[in-house]
């Protein structure tokens, strides 16, 4: 009888445990609950770490040369997030946008510390940038366009990198920059127009 009672109590307790999301996406309400739990006790940060480790690692790996460096920077991103989680405030943007912002800052810091000036990008990403500009591209044009892109003001350069080299959607870019999706789209196209004009000026010289 006692065993049955204990079993019944155990089943009630285990039924009340929140589902562990692992790498699976979970809804915003659940996410806010996990964030609040992590703010109260950092040991609960593990659920958020499990959910976002992979996308953040892939994002960073796209910007650095090897997986070891990417892993070190990823750990640093999550360490900073864990330390500062108490300061996190929900402003209607996904938690991931906060992590991406930390990741971007960490990557930029890595570039500065290591005095890295050369950033690798995939050929097809460079080609997609040229296609978006509506231009028939050659290797020479791509090289010129990338040089111009690198000389853009930091915010515009960052927006081009996010859209074409990190392959983020307008929604994701908007979330990271804390602006609306339509605004992110407008900024991307304005920057593209600027690049296109500068490229034409350079080619017509």
């Amino acid at each position: 009888m006692l065993i049955l009672l204990l079993f019944h109590l155990f089943s009630i307790v285990s039924a009340k445990q929140p589902p562990l999301p692992g790498n699976k996406p979970y809804n915003r309400t659940e996410e806010l609950i996990y964030i609040k739990k992590a703010q109260a006790d950092p040991r609960h940060f593990g659920i958020l770490y499990d959910a976002y480790h992979k996308p953040i690692l892939i994002f960073i790996y796209g910007r650095v040369k090897d997986k070891e460096t990417a892993s070190d920077i990823t750990q640093q991103v999550f360490l900073k997030a864990m330390i500062n989680i108490k300061k996190y405030q929900d402003r209607g943007f996904p938690f991931s946008s906060w992590l991406y912002r930390i990741a971007m800052n960490e990557v930029n810091m890595h570039y500065r510390e290591q005095k890295i000036t050369e950033v690798e990008i995939r050929e097809k990403d460079a080609a997609s940038l040229m296609e978006e500009m509506g231009d028939a591209y050659t290797d020479e044009k791509i090289a010129l366009c990338l040089d111009l892109g690198a000389k853009l003001p930091e915010e515009q350069n960052r927006i081009i990198e996010m859209r074409f080299f990190d392959r983020l959607s307008f929604q994701e870019i908007g979330d990271i920059l804390g602006i609306a999706e339509a605004n992110a789209k407008m900024r991307v196209y304005r920057t593209l127009e600027k690049l296109k004009t500068e490229l034409l000026n350079l080619l017509n010289r």
Binding site: K54, Y61, K67
Partner: protein, 66 residues
């Protein structure tokens, strides 16, 4: 000055590699190291205490109290 280098294709990380690079226990250890308070409070540290006394004496001397 930033410069872009065009490469053919970067090798993608496999799920196993990503899983191998994931370690919450290591992150927790780093967190504990980063947030750990010093074991000895400043006022109980002999050298910190002496330094503090010297600073106070210097301030008093500068202000003309001594």
């Amino acid at each position: 000055m930033k410069k872009y280098k065009v490469i053919k294709e970067k090798r993608q990380l496999t799920d196993d590699e990503i899983e191998g690079l994931k370690s919450f226990s290591q992150l927790t250890q780093s967190y504990q190291r980063a947030t750990r308070r010093p074991t000895v409070p400043v006022y109980k540290n002999k050298w910190a205490f002496i330094a503090l006394v010297i600073i106070v004496l210097l301030l008093l001397w500068i202000s003309g109290e001594l």
